[in-house]
Amino acid sequence: MATALPTRTATRCFRTTRPRTCNQHIHSRRAFHSYDHPPPPGPFGATETLILSAAYKHVPEHGFTHRALSLGACDAGLLDISPSALPDGAFSLIRYHLYTQRLALAAKSSHIFQGEDAPVGVGAKVTALTWERLMANREVIHQWQEALAVMAQPSHAPASLKELAMLSDEIWYLAGDTAVDPSWYTKRATLSMIYSSSELFMTNDHSPDYVETNKFLKRRLGEVQSVGGALGAIGQWVGFTASAGINVLRSKGARI
């Protein structure tokens, strides 16, 4: 047993480390992106990943359920009861889907952004990435309504929303958005909204290759751009009028 310990220290969640290191926070997360340091280990530990990755193969047939988990555990050489070690049960499997598909986006993005018909500009890249992420649900879309219901349960909602926020952050980051003004927030909020509504639309979409979902997504993104543009124009007008008004008052001798 003791000889197995050092190899496992890398994974923080399923940890078999010494007590001293155990006192560190168990999810070693980083609130920033670093080019110089390797990414922190994910939220899933060794045995947890073993179960979840094996169970994930059963999702198209059995959904995000305990049954998929226990079939997966058996495939991985564990026992039927092993998945009961997972803290959130079936939700762990949903989180695994969200997490792995979010990370997969980075690899896909370099693929999308190469070639002749590569999207140009941040807006087009965001559209392409969002579409790519929606397509990652293709295999499990018939189980996704059930998954959304689980995600919406009060005990799981915070984790689901966090995952959604991280997804839109990832998309904006990969699209090359570097804005650091208050639009940082509005961009992420609107993209989260658009992504989740498109996802919901997709669960009922039976058109070939989800063309309806694609149109839906483009309509929503277009709306945001036009509304965003209108809001920006209004803001500019208000700002100009206000400063002009102040200047007029100053020219009249007001001490402003």
Binding site: F14, G77, A85
Partner: protein, 302 residues
């Protein structure tokens, strides 16, 4: 009334003989391998390790009969919810294909509280009668309570149970290495003289992929205000209830002190990890703000 005063008298007699000095120790079997110089805690007292087992035995012999009534009063009935939840998250008997055998050991489960729930879960909810359940306890009095209660179960459920009087720190050789699917201990591990030894033993007997699950009182440190109320309740009300209902203040004083001495959620999780288990996520789950907590570990493949 007669019965109660009888119980009370009995309890008092037992309490009187509960050893302070190592001379009279009715329930203790002094274990020679323990170093006499080593000390452990018994509530807030520090006592030689060899003595703890006997002292705990005294406590549980005293409380065995009024166990259920007292649990209801002390936890205001919530302990039933905790136990239900504990068993339902483990979901014993849910196997594919259905009917595959599952071997379960319920340690410190004398009164059968957890074991009977697991049986119900497997037999009734999952329709899988193919489980083997061993109820183990160090204390014959508690085990006797469980044996009596098990007579009320349906016959097919009774046939799945066996009783075992054993020390969880050194399980008998009848429980082989890598032989169990599930090892549960509910409100018991706190009383073990050597928790690390018991965890190692749990790791030994579980199959790879087997689950160690522990339901135990824990800390409410995250909610200071609630914690204050809870502490007030446990240090003032619980010994008083014990005195009035079970006629035994000392045993319940020990109970609250031992809860206070039990490691925090994180410390205990680290002990589980140290024993060779993997944990998923935080490795524990708080119930009622942390008054109790469920710790689960999984024995890794290698």
């Amino acid at each position: 009334m007669n019965a109660r005063s009888g119980l009370r008298l009995g309890a008092r007699a037992l309490r009187a003989s509960t050893p302070r000095a190592p001379v009279a120790r009715p329930f203790s079997t002094t274990i020679p391998q323990y170093d006499q110089g080593k000390h452990t805690h018994f509530g807030y007292e520090t006592i030689p390790e060899a003595e703890k087992q006997g002292r705990v035995a005294g406590v549980f012999t005293n409380v065995a009969e009024s166990y259920d009534k007292m649990n209801d009063l002390m936890s205001l009935g919530v302990h039933r919810l905790w136990k239900d939840y504990f068993v339902s998250t483990l979901n014993p008997g849910a196997t594919t294909p259905l009917g595959q055998p599952q071997k379960i050991l319920d340690v410190a489960g004398g009164t059968g509280d957890i074991a009977f729930r697991m049986l119900h879960n497997a037999h009734v909810l999952n329709g899988n009668p193919n489980i083997e359940l061993t109820i183990s306890d160090i204390n014959p009095a508690m085990l006797e309570v469980g044996r009596q209660r098990s007579l009320a179960l349906p016959a097919e459920q009774q046939s799945c149970i066996s009783f075992l009087e054993a020390n969880a720190e050194t399980l008998p050789s009848s429980i082989q290495d890598n032989s169990l699917d599930l090892y549960t201990v509910a409100f018991g591990i706190r009383n073990f003289t050597n928790m690390r030894a018991a965890l190692k033993e749990a790791h030994r007997v579980l199959k790879p992929g087997g689950i160690f699950a522990c339901l135990e009182f824990s800390k409410v440190d995250r909610f200071p205000l609630f914690n204050a109320v809870y502490k007030q309740w446990s240090f003032s009300a619980i010994p008083l209830i014990g005195q009035l209902v079970a006629g035994d203040r000392d045993s319940y004083q020990y109970l609250v002190e031992s809860i206070e001495r039990f490691p925090t959620q994180v410390e205990f999780r680290d002990m589980i990890v140290e024993a060779g288990f993997d944990v998923a996520g935080e490795g524990y789950e708080n119930l009622t703000g942390g008054i109790a907590a469920i710790h689960r570990g999984i024995k890794p493949l290698r």
